[in-house]
């Protein structure tokens, strides 16, 4: 019976079609194998170059000190409690990523996130049961011995670049209540200059820029306008609102004149 059967035409055509389609498909697939995969036998080695080419966002503290721009601050930090220990609190931990900052001079370092300085400090310094008790001071915001009744910003008493407990870097603005009526300054200093000393902890010495914006050399009108707006609450700033709310018109005038004249 088997010898009698001839293979029908359709069967021959079917086999030819299958062979053709199969060979085309599998040979075709070979053409799409990436060069990098041929080498490794599995993954495309070319991706290594792509992955390695990703931009670096965090430059590291050393690069801040390497250039002359932040020389003084860096030295201060390196000697202080945040930088002198083996466990360093890095620049970019508070200022945010600055890998791109050197290229763009205008974008100056400021505090990361929403600018809430107290919460920033408490990120590491809040007393918590799970936190190790050695190392950084543990602070309970409710029990922290405030020298004044008002809620203050940590940086008003502690220099963030070289923090210490005993000597407040500058007298907080709220504490100068008695002298605020008297705009005349002692020792031949201008009224603005004596007031401005409390700004330096954030805005840098002589307002040349700290982690808060540069004030020195800004236009008089702009400075005044900003302060008035901070005072009224029109402009929002976790630090500047409480500071400006206690200022008098005369003080604003004096401060603005001082900084614009630098």
């Amino acid at each position: 019976m088997k010898g009698k059967n001839k293979t029908p035409h359709y069967a021959v055509r079917l086999v030819v079609l299958i062979l053709f389609a199969g060979i085309t498909f599998f040979v075709g697939l070979r053409f799409f194998v990436p060069e990098g995969s041929k080498l490794t036998g599995s993954y495309d080695a070319e991706s290594l170059l792509y992955i390695a080419s990703a931009p670096v966002e965090y430059a590291g503290s050393k690069s801040c000190g390497a250039s002359s721009c932040h020389d003084s601050l860096f030295k201060k930090w390196a000697k202080g409690a945040h930088g002198a220990r083996d466990e360093q609190s890095k620049c970019e931990a508070c200022h945010g990523p600055q890998g791109n900052h050197p290229g763009k001079i205008k974008k100056l370092p400021k505090v990361r996130g929403d600018g809430n300085v107290v919460e920033l400090c408490l990120t590491c310094h809040r007393e918590m049961k799970a936190r190790s008790t050695t190392g950084q001071p543990q602070i309970s915001p409710q029990e922290h011995p405030f020298p004044h009744k008002e809620v203050l910003i940590c940086t008003q008493c502690h220099d963030p670049h070289s923090p210490g407990f005993d000597k407040p870097a500058t007298a907080p603005v709220g504490a100068t209540k008695n002298s605020t009526n008297n705009v005349e300054a002692p020792n031949g200093m201008s009224a603005g200059e004596s007031l401005a000393s409390s700004c330096f902890s954030c805005h840098g010495p002589k307002g040349r820029g700290g982690f808060a914006p540069v004030l020195a050399g800004q236009p008089l009108g702009a400075l005044k306008d900003k302060l008035v707006k901070f005072r009224s609450g029109e402009l929002k700033g976790a630090v500047m609102n409480p500071v400006a709310s206690k200022m008098k018109d005369k003080e604003i005038e004096a401060l603005a004149q001082y900084f614009s004249g630098l």
Binding site: K4, N5, K6, T7, P8, H9, Y10, A11, R13, L14, L17, L29, F32, V33, P34, S37, S42, D44
Partner: protein, 406 residues
């Protein structure tokens, strides 16, 4: 940025786990491969094992299996982050992966299934080509590879080859479905999936769902055509459905009991989870409504041998419930496995969204699509001809053939 669907959780889960990776489309995927395996098993009862009572549903089952098989890659691809790159898995397959061969296996099996259909319906396609004109004729002529030989010798040739293909088709169907299950059970990171029994349960419950879906299709078609379904066939299907349902229930029970009895790390969590958010899905829907109730009805059909309307109502109820059971089982495996956290300290509570690619509508759409496809395939291949239409026309064939050549 696209929306991130965060799932609520109880206890402790890894943060990244709160975004469920495999959603309801991946539930449909093993469900469909199960239907493929099941439907081709039904078809094989006649074409392979030669059980005559299953003749009326044999071809319907075959076409249904093919329709489901076409839907499987569509479902899988639409779930991928980058479906356009999927071919790459075939270009540079990573042989260590339990998933890399799926493309090849699915292709191979679809091809075997198509070959089976091609041989099964070749004679009918030749007849269709003869009786039609224009584009339709061209379509059927192409399908028959421009050869209208339906001589007795050719038909015998078809049958010899069909028998050989059927063997590989049934191996392929269950192999593919078992392989899909291995994709889940080979992961050591999830306790709920990594049981060795899972593959056996999947394959056996696949037969349950296949029998149920073919039976339901047969009943629906009969209802539309206002004709009586063949009762011997229905009873036969019910018998096999009962056997396989008992097996499924038994194995699932064994798996669950051994999980509880072994009481490895995290068993408290699993018990909390199974008794909590999974209780209705697992015990009520899957076990009681989906398994116990249909088994009772099936037992009644087997012993009491009802006929007429009673039988039709009973079988349609049973098939719907069995389909729900198997779907719920796939859901409880795929989603349930991801809801139990890898931390073994908490679980998630996933809510299937209604709309969207990951939603219930998309899943129902995929299943509806496969049913429509079955209808289309049935229309293409079988409509209009009966066995009696086939006559040996070797004489006319030889003249036709010479006419073609000249």
């Amino acid at each position: 940025m696209e929306a991130i669907h965060v799932t609520s959780f109880i206890g402790y889960v890894y943060p990244n786990e709160t975004v469920i990776a495999w959603t309801v489309l991946i539930v449909v995927y093993p469900y469909l491969t199960g239907l493929v395996a099941g439907a081709s098993s039904v078809s094989v009862l006649y074409t392979g094992a030669g059980l005559k009572e299953f003749k009326p549903v044999s071809r319907l089952a075959l076409l249904a299996a093919f329709a489901f098989m076409i839907t499987v890659p569509i479902v899988l691809l639409s779930h991928l982050g980058h479906p356009e790159r999927a071919l790459g898995a075939m270009i540079t397959p990573n042989f260590a992966s339990a998933f890399s061969m799926f493309g090849y296996f699915a292709m191979l099996y679809s091809f075997i299934l198509f070959l089976e259909i091609w041989f099964e319906f070749r004679v009918y396609n030749v007849l269709q080509a003869r009786n039609s004109t224009g584009l339709k004729r061209l379509f059927y002529r192409t399908l028959t590879l421009f050869d209208n030989n339906i001589s007795t010798e050719a038909q015998e040739f078809d049958h010899r080859w069909l028998r050989r293909i059927v063997i590989f088709s049934i191996i392929g169907a269950h192999g593919l479905h078992g392989y899909v299950c291995f994709v889940f059970s080979s992961l050591k990171s999830r306790e709920w999936w990594s049981s060795e029994l899972t593959i056996v349960i999947f394959v056996i419950s696949a037969v349950v769902s296949g029998i149920a879906v073919v039976m339901l299709m047969y009943l629906v078609v009969s209802a539309f055509r206002k004709s009586r379904p063949d009762e011997a066939c229905l009873r036969g299907l019910c018998f096999y459905l009962m056997i396989f349902s008992i097996f499924t229930l038994f194995l699932e029970g064994v798996e669950f009991i051994s999980l509880v009895y072994k009481a490895k790390e995290g068993i408290e969590l699993i018990m909390d989870y199974v008794m909590g958010p999974m209780f209705y899905r697992f015990f009520v829907v899957q076990f009681f409504i989906g398994a116990i109730v249909p088994l009772t009805i099936l037992f009644w059909i087997w012993r009491a041998k009802p006929s007429g309307k009673k039988l039709i109502v009973a079988t349609s109820t049973v098939s719907v419930l069995a389909l729900i059971q198997v779907f719920m089982m796939r859901y409880n495996v795929v989603i349930g496995g991801q809801e139990i956290s890898k931390t073994m300290r908490g679980y998630l509570e996933y809510q299937v969204p209604v709309f969207g690619l990951e939603g219930a509508v998309a899943a129902i759409g995929a299943i509806a699509f496969s049913l429509c496809l079955t209808y289309v395939l049935v229309k293409i291949f079988t409509i209009g001809f009966e066995d009696k239409d086939i006559v040996d026309d070797s004489e006319s064939y030889s003249t036709d053939n010479t006419a073609e050549k000249t």
